[in-house]
């Protein structure tokens, strides 16, 4: 036990002095989550605002067929109207960016609208265009025109607007805000924690296994009185701790991100902040412990097998996908935590976290998840011990 402590302290010191590990363990999760949940929506909103207010040019073909609609386009903010484009050259002009979009008003348009018929109008645009701003802005003007025409028709027919709405549905969703967010966005949280746990454990594992082999220090360590299991546990302790700290950094990042998340309604932000309460976080973190031990065991086994740090990196890449794929399953709507899914590693963590956030988790299923993850961590530990004792792995030539 004493030797495990000696190895653990040395490996921890060595790991904390590695800038690359520190970056992936602490800096990256703290920076990236705020950037994803706070920064990206902010950028998208400001881009949308810019696109919706910047000046665009619309070509109108058949302007004489609806002077009323023409007036509306003329009065719309930041929309230039041009009539100098031929119908055959519309697409070419849009692609050349001479115009942003076009509107084709057919003959007898006003006549049909006024005689209570349905008149057709054609909008031409590129839908792959930035955030479809051109389409939305043309639609907005046409919708105003349509609404005014509906009002006129109702007046002419002496009808009330209620005539068009025989049934109105009143929604009463009994799900709490936490349940809604837990089920909708809850899948993202475990995915991120699992991802960070894996990434945080990855670099120390590669360094403490393949890195030691590459530097020749493993040979020296194996000639010390420390037993293989003691060496293994000392190393696994540091790797698991790194994965765990990385997941905690992810939670800190989430909290920081929420401070910058001003675009969402205040109720959602308040609910999301209430998720970060001690009980919820403690439960999620307690689930991360066996996960980080399991990840450490898998990563260290691969790392011991590799001859060099570089080989270990290339071997870990496919494992990365293999381990993170189940975490993505938690994001699929409709996949629920049952006694069967509670047994599937990683998937169960993803699903149970959603339930914890929604405050709908059953104790029996939670225990089942703990049990299955602890068994998995123990199996991983024994496999790594067996693997580490194999000469053809440690001295693979």
């Amino acid at each position: 036990m004493k030797k495990i402590g000696i190895i653990f302290r040395k490996e921890l010191k060595d790991t904390l002095r590695d800038r690359r590990t520190l970056f992936f363990m602490i800096v990256f999760p703290i920076l990236i989550i705020p950037l994803i949940i706070g920064g990206i929506p902010k950028i998208m909103v400001s881009m949308m605002e810019k696109k919706m207010t910047e000046r665009i040019t619309i070509a109108i073909i058949g302007e004489e067929n609806s002077p009323e609609l023409m007036d509306m386009f003329g009065m719309a903010d930041s929309i230039n109207v041009t009539f100098n484009v031929e119908i055959d050259s519309i697409e070419q002009s849009i692609r050349k960016k001479d115009i942003d979009g076009a509107l084709i008003i057919p003959d007898r348009f006003s006549e049909m609208v006024n005689s209570m018929e349905t008149a057709q109008i054609t909008m031409v645009y590129i839908s792959s265009d930035d955030l479809e701003a051109t389409k939305k802005r043309m639609e907005s003007v046409i919708n105003k025109y349509r609404e005014s025409k509906i009002d006129q028709r109702l007046d002419r027919l002496k009808l009330h607007s209620k005539t068009l709405e025989p049934v109105k549905i009143n929604h009463r969703n009994i799900a709490s805000e936490k349940e809604m967010i837990g089920k909708l966005a809850g899948g993202w949280l475990p995915y991120m924690f699992i991802l960070y746990c894996f990434m945080g454990a990855m670099y120390p594992a590669l360094d403490l296994g393949a890195g030691e082999k590459e530097r020749g220090t493993i040979e020296t360590l194996l000639t010390s009185p420390a037993g293989r299991m003691e060496i293994l546990l000392g190393k696994l302790g540091v790797i698991s701790l790194s994965g765990f700290l990385s997941a905690i950094s992810g939670i800190i990042g989430l909290f920081v991100g929420l401070q910058f998340m001003t675009e969402l309604p205040i109720e959602i932000i308040t609910t999301m902040k209430s998720i970060i309460e001690i009980k919820t976080i403690a439960l999620i973190l307690s689930l991360i412990v066996p996960v980080s031990i399991f990840f450490s065991a898998v990563l260290l086994s691969i790392s011991f097998y590799a001859k060099s740090f570089k080989e270990a990196q290339s071997l870990v890449t496919p494992i990365n996908i293999l381990i993170l794929f189940p975490a993505l399953i938690g994001l699929i709507p409709g996949v629920e935590l049952t006694w069967k899914t509670a047994l599937i590693p990683i998937v169960n963590i993803s699903l149970v976290t959603k339930e914890i956030i929604a405050e709908t988790v059953s104790s029996a299923l939670l225990l089942e998840v703990y049990g299955s993850m602890i068994i998995l961590a123990v199996v991983g530990l024994f496999f790594t011990r067996w693997w580490f004792n194999r000469e053809e792995v440690i001295f693979r030539g």
């Binding site: 010191k13 220090t217 040979e219 000639t223 010390s224 009185p225």
Partner: protein
């Protein structure tokens, strides 16, 4: 009384020695290695075949042979890193396969690779191994003082290993090897790839170990080094011992004009 003293001395002497008996080590080949060997159905390769020798305290035992002869495999088995396929190794009367941890407590191992952690300081590196060997703080500080002045390490003890020159690193590696004052020291081609100054430090260490009555086993393929250091030798080729006696006896049986030529005659001539 004299008989009693002689008996004690003899008992201590035997306790410190290394005795290798009918040692064999086979490695399982992987698919790629089997393809490369030219015989795909050959699943195993014998790296060491029925090797026996003794290393006694106060003498330097040289394990001599070309690359691939099986020297490192034997030394790794003595240091309990590898397990023999058959045969036995006794280090200080302990069976390597039964009590590996006990053997390692009294063994120092040094190869040409310094085996140091770049992000630790020289002091941290040596302290780490002292702690693993279970040395008490008072003994550690005494031993550190001795080794630091012997190796002139005081100036760079608190510098990170990554920032040390190769000579300094070699000194740290030497201090790490003998911080626990082992009675058995294993040197696996310790001077390969080193410059003259670093090689000299290693040679000095080997000679000092002999003076202190330690059991020293050393592998090399450099005949000049063997001539300078070894009392007893075993010439190894393709996992088998071709000669095992004193170095003087080897010189007496030489059929070529130089040691190098005779070594080549024995090894290449046998293949």
């Amino acid at each position: 009384m004299i008989t009693g003293l002689l008996y004690n001395f003899r008992a201590q002497w035997f306790q410190k020695m290394i005795e290798v008996q009918h040692l064999t080590k086979e490695f399982t080949l992987n698919r790629k290695q089997r393809k490369e060997s030219g015989n795909y159905h050959h699943r195993k390769v014998t790296a060491v075949n029925n090797v026996s020798f003794k290393c006694v305290p106060g003498k330097i035992f040289g394990l001599i042979g070309p690359n691939g002869a099986g020297k490192t495999t034997i030394l790794r088995m003595i240091a309990t890193m590898l397990r023999p396929t058959s045969g036995t190794i006794y280090v200080q009367n302990e069976d390597c396969t039964k009590h590996p941890e006990k053997i390692r407590e009294n063994l120092g191992f040094l190869s040409n690779n310094t085996g140091l952690y770049d992000r630790l300081t020289a002091e941290e590196m040596i302290r780490y191994y002292a702690d693993l060997y279970g040395i008490s703080p008072s003994r550690y500080f005494k031993r550190r003082k001795e080794l630091y002045s012997l190796l002139n390490m005081n100036d760079f003890a608190n510098r990170r290993i990554a920032n040390l020159s190769s000579g300094m690193k070699q000194k740290v590696s030497i201090a790490r090897t003998i911080i626990h004052d082992p009675s058995v020291v294993v040197f696996d081609e310790p001077t390969t790839g080193l410059d003259v100054l670093s090689s000299r430090a290693i040679v000095k260490l080997i000679l000092r170990c002999r003076e202190e009555g330690k059991t020293v086993i050393f592998s090399s393929h450099r005949m000049a080094e063997v001539e300078n250091l070894c009392d007893d030798i075993a010439i190894l080729h393709k996992g088998e011992i071709f000669f095992n006696d004193t170095f003087e006896s080897f010189k007496g049986q030489m059929k070529s004009s130089t040691l190098e030529e005779d070594f080549i005659r024995l090894t290449v001539g046998s293949s």
